[in-house]
């Protein structure tokens, strides 16, 4: 039981990662693949956040007096996740734009039908 308690956040995060990977590898519709990428990104972000968590920690903001540095969670993963979210948004926007162009050119988003070049 304590194993679950200790690792439930990791399990959740990597559950999302594995779901995302499975979608990307097994689906043939481009939009579904992009959704898979998004799920994968979310899982990794959750993992990064849970790496930095410290039991019963507070947010690392000295907003009122009486807060001490020892109680705070690690700020670095939060900064990393901010960056990684922005990168995820950039890739997602670009992937959707390419999907729109692809649909205009081929009339379908099914990667099997599009595959004139080899996959």
């Amino acid at each position: 039981m304590s194993f679950l308690q200790d690792y439930v956040y990791y399990i959740g995060a990597f559950g999302l990662v594995l779901i995302g990977l499975f979608i990307i590898l097994s689906r043939r519709n481009l939009i579904k693949v992009i959704i898979g990428l998004s799920i994968l990104d979310t899982g990794i972000n959750l993992f990064l956040i849970s790496v930095g968590y410290i039991s019963k920690g507070t947010a690392p903001i000295f907003s009122k007096p009486g807060l001490v540095a020892e109680d705070m969670v690690d700020p670095v993963p939060q900064a990393l996740v901010l960056t990684s979210i922005v990168i995820g948004v950039a890739v997602l926007a670009l992937a959707l734009a390419l999907a729109m162009r692809l649909h205009k050119l081929h009339g379908t988003l099914d990667l099997r039908k599009i595959g004139e070049l080899k996959w």
Partner: protein, 489 residues
């Protein structure tokens, strides 16, 4: 002395200016990448003597070694930044004439940002910062592959994007594990602790990172995107992707394996993978009838050769590997640039449609021939000393296994020679039916090609010009303690 951070920041600032300049005059915006690359070239050359005597560590923000991000400008870094600036300069000259349709201002902005990303990757000393710059490089190359907006371009860009994003996700997971294990992101700080860490989690992190970076470096099972992306991009972009992007991916793999993890057990595996990549690439290239696909597969082969040479991990073989990297960047950029205008004039990418090009565009065809000969490894071109150094470095070790692998490498070179001579024969010795009128490439494109021709011949005749830099680059990779000591003080 100038600060090496300007190598990243000035081109970045100029890239942000390109859209503003483009609003005033589109013709003027084309010249910004040329100026930025020239600036980087001058600064890199200026920094070279100082870096060779002592690597420069730049603290960004001024908070001290593991706390703020730092740049590590050693011989390897300066070698790569020189190469990027050089290839970037030549290709941006070529693009002045070649890129005349579509959203050109956006092209030049993204092109410059691609080079900024590449420079950032090779200079940074922080794992996460490497990831950020790597993404700049990747995302701008996804767009540039699709620049023409035709069926093939968009399709291969989608393919490239999905595989690239998958690779980046694995890379980020690996970085997350590294942070969990060591609580730091500074490469030197990780390297200090990597020796005493539990080997199994460390191996998992390394596997994730190497696989993630390996997608961009086009190591064998991960290179499905490369032939399509390189062949359907505009030729100027193919030149940069083949000449710079995959080399930068390779740099990242090598830096991780050698400096951060110090994983000598991984090297023999990489050596086999290198030879496998080489053979697969060369065999596929031999089977192609499309000239750009052939060149793209040949890039895979060359990357395999460089991995093989560096993974032997003796001073001589790493020097050879870096030499091969330099000669590949110059020759493959030249080949793509020359092929670009030959394809443009003949209207088809089929090798058979290049018949008679030796008469129609003699200078371009000559440049193509120089690039091909250099890549195959004929004297007096740059490819000859590099292949010689690799083989000498591999045989100096004396193992029977290495001798066998060298035999396979030579077999790969023979295949390479066969398909390049087939193209040369088609270009020069077959009479094309149809047009015979002269239609040479524009002057500015010829200038850019002949800069590369001159460099290939000069380096081929006087290899000692760059051997010194390459030797210190090799020792930077081999002596980890020196790297760690410089950063952490």
């Amino acid at each position: 002395m100038v600060s090496p951070v300007l190598l990243i920041v000035i081109p970045l600032g100029l890239a942000f200016c390109v859209p503003l300049i483009g609003m005033v005059s589109k013709r003027f915006a084309r010249f910004v990448p040329v100026v930025a690359c020239l600036f980087n070239l001058v600064v890199s050359v200026q920094l070279l003597p100082a870096v060779l005597s002592k690597p420069i560590v730049v603290d960004l923000g001024g908070f001290g070694a593991p706390f703020s991000i730092n740049l590590f400008v050693g011989p390897v870094g300066i070698l790569f930044s020189l190469l990027i600036a050089l290839a970037g300069f030549v290709v941006s000259l070529y693009a002045l004439a070649y890129i005349d349709k579509g959203p050109t201002t956006r092209y030049h902005t993204l092109y410059l940002l691609l080079l900024v990303g590449a420079t950032g990757v090779v200079l940074t000393g922080d794992v996460f910062n490497l990831f950020v710059f790597f993404e700049i490089l990747c995302i701008s190359s996804y767009v540039l592959v699709a620049y023409r907006g035709d069926k093939d371009g968009v399709e291969s860009a989608v393919k490239y994007l999905i595989q690239g994003a998958l690779g980046s996700a694995l890379l980020l997971t690996g970085i997350g594990l590294l942070y969990g294990l060591f609580g730091t992101l500074n490469m030197a700080h990780i390297a200090v602790q990597a020796g005493s860490a539990d080997p199994i989690p460390l191996f998992v992190a390394m596997a994730l990172i190497v696989v993630g970076l390996g997608v961009e470096a086009a190591i064998f099972p991960l290179n499905a995107w490369l032939p399509d992306a390189h062949s359907s991009a505009p030729s100027s972009i193919s030149a940069i992707l083949s000449g710079i992007a995959i080399e930068v991916g390779l740099y990242a793999v090598v830096r991780m394996v050698f400096t951060v993890f110090g994983a000598s057990s991984m090297l023999s595996f990489l050596m086999f993978l290198g030879v496998l990549t080489l053979l697969v690439g060369e065999l596929c290239a031999f089977a192609q009838s499309n000239i750009k696909r052939m060149l793209a597969y040949s890039s895979i082969g060359q990357i395999g050769l460089i991995i093989f040479a560096i993974a032997i991990a003796t001073s001589g073989s790493i020097t050879g590997g870096f030499f091969q990297l330099v000669s590949h960047t110059l020759s493959k950029a030249l080949l793509f640039l020359a092929a670009g205008y030959m394809i443009y004039r003949s209207g088809s990418m089929d090798i058979s449609s290049l018949e008679g090009m030796g008469k129609r565009m003699p200078l371009t065809a000559f440049a193509f021939a120089v690039g091909a000969f250099s890549l195959v490894g004929l004297p007096p071109f740059a490819g000859f000393p590099s292949k010689l150094l690799i083989i000498r470095g591999a045989l100096a070790d004396g193992g029977a296994l290495l001798a066998l692998l060298v035999g396979l490498v030579l077999l790969g070179t023979v295949i390479e020679g066969a398909y390049f001579f087939r193209v040369i024969q088609t270009v020069f010795f077959k009479k094309g039916d149809g047009e015979t009128a002269r239609c040479e490439a524009p002057a500015i494109a010829l200038v850019s090609m002949f800069v590369l021709v001159a460099l290939i011949i000069v380096i081929g005749v006087y290899p000692s010009l760059i051997i010194g830099v390459l030797n210190s680059a090799a020792s930077e990779l081999l002596v980890r303690a020196d790297y760690i000591g410089r950063v952490l003080g």
